[in-house]
């Protein structure tokens, strides 16, 4: 195959969160990074007396953990405020949605299944000797991503 001319960077990515999987909030102005998770399938192996290699069988898709890095801010309705409120809710439910190449018609948008925020630090690790922007990373465990086209 000839070298592709379609490669892109993640500079146009759009990151959204939702507590109901229907109404979405674009947090691209706060989000710096998204780690989608491993996306693995459970497997099982067994060796038998006959044969040399193992028998390998496929199980279900495994749960995966996605990590989102956001700028820590104290505005109401900002990414930190929304994620922290979701974490503090009874079930810590959160859905993630990411368009790696941006919200242009025909591009892919990946939507997580209903997830649970499993890690949400209260604030950034404070360091008086640092001039870095305060960042917070939260983790959502979910059942995987669904790829769909942007209409």
């Amino acid at each position: 195959m000839a070298q592709t001319t379609l490669a892109t960077s993640s500079r146009n990515a759009v990151v959204e969160i939702s507590t109901d999987g229907s109404t979405w909030t674009d947090i691209s102005g706060y989000a710096q990074s998204v780690s989608p998770g491993d996306g693995t399938r459970l497997t099982g192996t067994a060796h038998t007396f006959d044969g040399n290699g193992p028998i390998i069988v496929a199980g279900k898709l495994d749960a995966q953990e996605s990590t989102v890095g956001i700028v820590y801010t104290e505005d109401t309705g900002g990414a930190y405020d929304r994620a922290k409120n979701a974490f503090d809710s009874t079930n810590s439910t959160l859905y993630l949605r990411v368009a790696p190449d941006g919200n242009t018609t025909g591009n892919f948008r990946f939507t997580s299944t209903k997830g649970v925020i499993t890690q949400m630090p209260a604030f950034h690790e404070l360091d008086a000797s640092s001039g870095d922007v305060q960042m917070v990373e939260f983790t959502v465990q979910h059942g995987g991503w669904t790829k769909a086209a942007i209409p």
Binding site: G21, S22, T23, W24, R97, N103, T105, G106, R109, T111, T146, K147, A148, A149, I150, P151
Partner: protein, 91 residues
């Protein structure tokens, strides 16, 4: 104009729209249809271009709106000249 959903579509709001999938219980499901107004585009030309892009990507396809053959409605204005009645052959 209606379009059949062939691959999952992610609208700005709401859940993902999945295409109809045949199952053992329902081998011929009703197609999932979307109106042209559903698709993004600030102008008709822009919307048409976006729809065309999705068609080329195999995400949607134009829906043939030709309805199944239905009985013709009663003609309220019958022809002024009565139709000729078929005559039996003289042979």
């Amino acid at each position: 104009m209606l379009y059949i959903v062939l691959k999952p579509i992610s609208p700005a709001e709401g859940p993902i729209i999945e295409p109809a999938v045949a199952t053992a219980d329902n081998p011929a499901p009703e197609p999932v249809l979307l109106d042209a107004a559903f698709f993004s585009g600030e102008t008709d030309e822009e919307r048409a271009a976006n729809i065309q892009r999705l068609i080329e990507q195999g995400v949607i396809a134009p829906f043939d709106e030709a309805a199944p053959v239905a009985p013709e409605p009663t003609n309220p204005d019958p022809p002024a000249v009565p139709r000729r009645v078929a005559q039996p052959s003289e042979e």
